[in-house]
Symmetry: C2
Subunit: 220 residues, 2 copies
DNA sequence: GCGCGTTTCAAACATCTGTTTTAAACTGGC
DNA sequence: GCCAGTTTAAAACAGATGTTTGAAACGCGC
């Protein structure tokens, strides 16, 4: 019996490459395996043969592209402000890039909106490390632990803003038709979210101190 | 021929009342009309008889509950800061309220994430007026038009934050298990988003002025 | 070139779910 | 109390779509 050799996995690879953009654009449920197979030039049965079922393919797509170095949090370096911008940029950048690593963020956002059983692995392998990074960054800014409530609230404020633009396009284009996702406007948007959040984070840090001194004033 | 009298619409009303929470919790596609009919104590054919099809029922549910005064932005009064908090509260409050008017916000958020053909009417009748209100509010704060880019960017920053908590619970509970949607924490969250946004908006106003004076310095 | 495990393919299958059908039950007016 | 129009009910229907089947094609080692 011959084990699966690299050369034999051509169809498997083609399926993974074809499925990524489809799942990223349409989400798990709306994506049709007949569509994916057509793009991959493969028979529908190939999905079952190579991955067991649709969810198996989906899970493998997630694993297959999580290694994309472009999204490596290690790339985000420098001053806290620059790091924050790097984080926001990482999230928004995926709008344009159609290359393999980039649609991964769309996959993540799809999964956040419409979770599948793959959510657990995705959280563990991708989301949690980046969430932690963001919390450490914010905590550092306001002199709080990364586990502090205020720190995590701020983290979700940052993520929420970026996410909004990536998944609410249909509504945004109706209430604000002038807004377009050109590269220039993406930069503008990145700058806005960064500046807006920076101010919000600083204010949160001050409020926290205020509350603390207030408690101190009340005595113990 | 007898026209549809009020007393004849018992089934119709029961269907609308039963469908609201189901659509709000699961969205249009995941909601099953057999489930809705079972809750309403009606036959599946009743949906087609009274509303034509599933989308007809969905659209009527949207119309049926849009009049809910709880979500009336006119109720949001006071200083700009208080108005902003009122707006945020309006969005978040729907998490708990299981009463008729309250799950409407969930319907709106579902529609924003997974639009149906009903999106146009929803934008026109519900979203746009509130978006305009928010923009006027923010514009007033930073001395800009409600149509200014910076104003609208800030508006989306506010909406994005609130929306995040209402639709990403699955992820939030995994990266931050301690967070719960108790009434107290909902107040805390409302306060946080308001304060965070207030700081962000003020900073955006200042940046704008800075840019303007910079342009002025460059001469014309 | 034979044999055996591997891979591909077209077709059939199964299920879920919105929709339609057809007849029966009901309701109010005469 | 019957009739016309209205409403309800159970069942059948139809389309989309994930899954399985069984046979054919392939490819490597002997």
């Amino acid at each position: 019996m011959r084990k699966r050799a690299a050369s034999d996995e051509a169809t498997r690879i083609r399926l993974l490459e074809a499925a990524g953009p489809v799942f990223a654009a349409q989400g798990f449920h709306k994506a049709k395996i007949r569509d994916i197979c057509a793009r991959a030039g493969a028979n529908v049965a190939a999905v079952n043969y190579h991955f067991g079922d649709k969810l198996g393919l989906y899970t493998e797509v997630l694993r297959y592209s999580v290694s994309a170095a472009v999204l490596d949090p290690g790339l985000i370096t420098g001053a806290p402000e620059a790091k924050l911008r790097g984080f926001v940029h990482m999230m928004l950048d995926s709008v344009f890039k159609a290359t393999r690593p980039a649609w991964y963020m769309k996959l993540v956002l799809q999964e956040m909106s419409n979770p599948t059983p793959a959510i657990d692995e995705l959280v563990k392998e991708f989301i949690r490390p980046r969430y932690r990074l963001l919390c450490e960054l914010i905590g550092e800014m306001i002199g709080q632990s990364r586990n502090a409530r205020i720190t995590q609230l701020c983290a979700h404020s940052v993520v929420g803003q970026a996410r909004h633009y990536l998944i609410a396009n249909i509504v945004i284009e109706r209430v604000w038709p002038q807004f377009r996702f050109t590269p220039d406007e993406l930069e503008e948007l990145t700058d806005h979210i960064t500046a807006f959040s920076l101010a919000g984070i600083k204010a949160a840090g001050k409020t926290r101190k205020k509350i603390r001194s207030k408690s101190a004033a009340w005595g113990k």
